[in-house]
């Protein structure tokens, strides 16, 4: 029945394996995305054939399920502690009863591949499920689905459902297939729900009218943003968990003191340096008049464009650009000295009172390799930086290519109120650098703290952040006891420009219930999943910064427990896929090294007691407080239709 030509489309008999269906379903409920990729193939040839299931999932996504049905035998997955999983796999391999599951990491996606051999006429179905959180960047969320069916599919169906209680401000599917599928994605959008469907026919899939190759090989991207009414953000409460989304608008940018620390060692020669210079020229142009900046460039020596911070006037910017254009990369890499020089410049300016008290201070390190000169020990460099940097400075590290010890950059930044990001040394290095800079170019708030005064609130994720940057979003999550609370109260304190802000909100327990129950695509567990995702990622980062082995062991135990409880593959767990009889096994675990943490998140905060509210934010007046004003005041009041005294 599979070979019937129902839709009248001609299928090649050259290719003995037919891809009967390739289905991708994504549901995003309040930034929490759940994706299922399913493909069904059949071996039409008289010979056994190898069948491959090869998908790419976003870096940092957690696999939650994989199943495979080969010729009627179903393999299901269980999550085990990593070493246990591997031991089981080794046993199966000893009996020759295994098939490899390979995970590898390239660019910012992870490859997930398996290959099985099936007899003639047999059918095979693969299904992979993973979850990830959508981080808001530059004013929107992006959901990327890497489509790689590998061949024409009789039924190719991609469906993305987005459910956002706050309502969607816009939703857009950019053309990422160079016009080949113009008009094929169908968008249906309501105020709080949207559905994007991508179902090209076999003819539309063809690279060209008579080709047998598929043009479906790339990313379907859905971009959207939500409405934001309250500055205090959206507090979504459901099933014993809460998630707080915070992305205030209508605030003036805060002045920033920014130091660019650029690696100009020999390894940067060529496209990397060219692209970095190109990016820096645009970035410097984007500085605001009230910003202060300087440039430190280093190889085995450390140089500065200026020895101190300079106001970002047009002339200074032009001069800095000229300086950067003249850089010729050569020699070794002395990260330690370069960072200490940058920190010295900022500390000195701070100590001399040259910094606007309402400003924020950022260091952006761009490097493509490990230290080769001066202090080489990474932990020592990390210690030096930590000891010298004042706590008003956030350090962001951009690691170009794969020669750099990315974990080191991550630890270095997380330890100093910032994050690291991997940049790929290719022809779009410049746009990646610019894109990253734009994420931190507009600080709007400082010292943001999230408080949840109710005592039955527990397990709150990081709730204190040094900065909030326009276009991004801070997410905090936690647990509460539904039996004890009717409302959940949140208080956010922060400083904007030169003003102290105290924002409050109350979320009712059943606010979301009605909304979620109405939509079959809405994931009722999204709060729990988002909380788990955030918590595990932050624990992974805390683990890499753990000061002692005992602390590290404790964190590891917590992560493992949560990974098993939430049935997800994290760097500490592995997925064992077994046939019902248990005589055949496969293993899926996360790639070696590169402990994934907080991918895509712009913030790495810290934890303070969620119940504590800063002392300066004394409780707000309540309506009864208003009536305490002494005596009836002088007033101008409303219109005559409520007044019995006739007007003239």
């Amino acid at each position: 029945s599979l070979s019937e030509e129902k839709s009248g489309e001609r299928m090649e008999d050259v290719d003995q394996v037919t891809l009967y269906s390739y289905k991708v379903q994504s549901t995003i409920t309040s930034r929490m995305a759940n994706t299922i990729i399913q493909s069904k193939l059949v071996n039409n040839s008289p010979q056994p054939q190898d069948v491959v299931f090869d998908v790419q999932i976003p870096k940092g996504a957690f696999i939650s399920n994989f199943s495979m049905t080969v010729d009627g035998t179903t393999f299901t997955s269980t999550i085990k502690e990593k070493t246990v999983g591997r031991a089981l796999y080794a046993q199966a391999r000893a009996k020759g009863k295994t098939a490899g599951l390979v995970r590898s990491r390239a660019l910012d996606m992870e490859n997930f591949r398996t290959e099985v051999n099936i007899r003639p006429g047999a059918k095979v179905q693969f299904e992979l499920q993973y979850q990830e959180v959508k981080w808001r960047k530059l004013g929107s969320y992006e959901h990327r689905l890497h489509l790689q069916p590998g061949r024409l599919a009789k039924h190719l169906e991609v469906d993305v459902w987005i459910v956002e209680p706050q309502g969607m401000r816009f939703l857009h599917v950019p053309d990422t297939f160079e016009g080949h599928f113009d008009g094929v994605p169908v968008i249906s959008k309501g105020p709080q729900k949207a559905h994007v469907s991508f179902r090209p026919t076999v003819a539309q899939q063809r690279k060209c009218p008579n080709c047998s190759e598929t043009a479906v090989d790339g990313e379907l991207v859905v971009m959207y943003d939500v409405h934001r009414e309250e500055k205090v953000g959206e507090l979504e409460v459901f099933n014993g968990y809460f998630v707080h989304f915070f992305a205030p608008e209508n605030l003036d940018p805060i002045p920033k003191n920014i130091l660019f620390v650029i690696d100009v060692s020999g390894s940067m020669w060529g496209i990397k340096m060219k692209q970095t210079v190109e990016a820096m020229k645009t970035i410097l142009d984007d500085l605001r008049a009230e910003d202060q900046f300087s440039v430190v460039d280093f190889n085995h020596n450390v140089r500065t464009w200026r020895n101190d911070l300079v106001s970002a006037t047009k002339t200074q910017i032009a001069d800095a650009k000229k300086y950067i254009e003249k850089i010729q990369p050569s020699g070794g890499t002395n990260i330690n000295e370069a960072l200490l020089r940058a920190i010295f410049i900022l500390n000195e300016a701070n100590n001399l009172g040259l910094l606007d008290p309402s400003s924020v201070s950022l260091i952006i390190l761009v490097s493509d390799g490990d230290p080769t000169v001066g202090e080489l020990k990474l932990s020592k460099i990390q210690k030096n930086v930590k000891q010298n940097v004042q706590d008003n400075i956030s350090l962001f590290s951009l690691g170009i290519g794969f020669d750099v010890d990315y974990d080191f950059l991550k630890r270095l930044s997380n330890d100093n109120r910032g994050i690291a990001q991997r940049i790929y040394g290719n022809q779009d290095t410049s746009s990646q650098l610019k894109k990253f800079y734009n994420q931190v170019s507009t600080p709007l708030l400082r010292n943001i703290q999230f408080s949840y005064p109710d005592t039955s609130v527990t397990d709150v994720t990081q709730n204190s952040f040094p900065n909030y940057f326009g276009g991004s979003e801070i997410v905090v999550a936690g647990k509460y006891d539904p039996a004890k609370l009717q409302q959940l109260r949140a208080v956010i304190t922060a400083t904007s420009a030169n003003t102290e802000l105290v924002l409050e909100t109350l979320a009712q327990m059943d606010d979301l219930e009605d909304f979620l129950s109405k939509d079959k695509h809405a994931d009722p567990n999204f709060t729990r999943k988002l909380w788990a995702y955030l918590t595990i990622n932050q624990l992974l980062a805390e683990r890499s910064l753990a000061p002692t082995a005992t602390t590290k062991r404790k964190i590891t135990k917590t992560i493992l427990q949560m990974s098993l409880e939430h049935h997800i593959v994290t760097p500490l767990t592995a997925m064992v896929v077994e046939s019902a009889a248990g005589d055949e096994r496969m293993l899926a675990d996360s790639p070696p090294q590169d402990v994934s943490c907080c991918s895509g998140a712009l913030y790495y905060g810290s934890k303070v007691a969620p119940g504590s509210i800063p002392s300066w934010a004394s409780p707000s007046p309540t309506p009864t407080a208003l009536s305490l004003v002494a005596g009836p005041p002088l007033e101008a009041t409303p219109p005559p239709h409520v007044i019995r005294v006739e007007n003239d």
């Binding site: 009414e229 309250e230 500055k231 205090v232 209508n250 605030l251 003036d252 904007s496 420009a497 030169n498 003003t499 102290e500 802000l501 105290v502 924002l503 409050e504 909100t505 109350l506 300066w616 934010a617 707000s620 007046p621 309540t622 309506p623 208003l626 009536s627 004003v629 002494a630 005596g631 009836p632 005041p633 002088l634 007033e635 101008a636 009041t637 409303p638 219109p639 005559p640 239709h641 409520v642 007044i643 019995r644 005294v645 006739e646 007007n647 003239d648």
Partner: protein, 244 residues
Amino acid sequence: PHFIIYLPKSQKNICFNIDSEPGKILNLVSDPESGIVVNGQLTGAKKPQDGKLSTYFGKLGFYFQSEDMKIEVSVENITISHGSHTSILSWSDTARVMNSRVVVSVNKEKSVTLTLGKEVSFSILLHRVWKKHPVNVDFLGIYIPPSNKFSLKAHGLIGQFMHEPKIYISNERPGKDPKKPEASMDVKGHKLIVTRGLQKDYRTDIVLGTDVPCWFVHNSGKGFIDGCYKDYFVPELYSSLKWP
């Protein structure tokens, strides 16, 4: 808009109203010494009723010169400008913004309270009406508790009463409308005929308000306010009144 002026020494409420054109800006308080200016801009109903277009305060402007701070409260949002920095809060926020001596507190969809130092405060009430109402529009009420922090030079439709004028009410008698007694009121050298009535204080009940008995001065408060109400028009939301 209707005004209720409470005179603590004589324990009397005097009220009057002013109706003018939408867009006009009335000065409520101008105090050259404390640098405080409060103005109200009129907004009109969607259409006239009985041939007359009612007006209300749709926007209030507060300027605290000593803090270099301007605060605009409209029925849409609250804009706080300090020096070159601007923050905008919405009525759907519950928020407090503190800047050295000024605190702006927004009570979601209800009220905004501005306090300058510990001495002076203003409360603004938001009156939301049914969006599709054929006539009514959202409007604001402003409440200013008496304070001795205003200088003798304070003026404006409300500011002039920060220092209580002497009044004498006599000859209370039935009015043309038996339910509305009349009386004579001597104030500022004028002898006015005033009518007994009720006004509303909305602070404790934003919908129904509570009744405040008062003596109503006709002709847009003429005789009770210095000059006439047109003297209090100012060109900009933060303009101060030049008086006399």
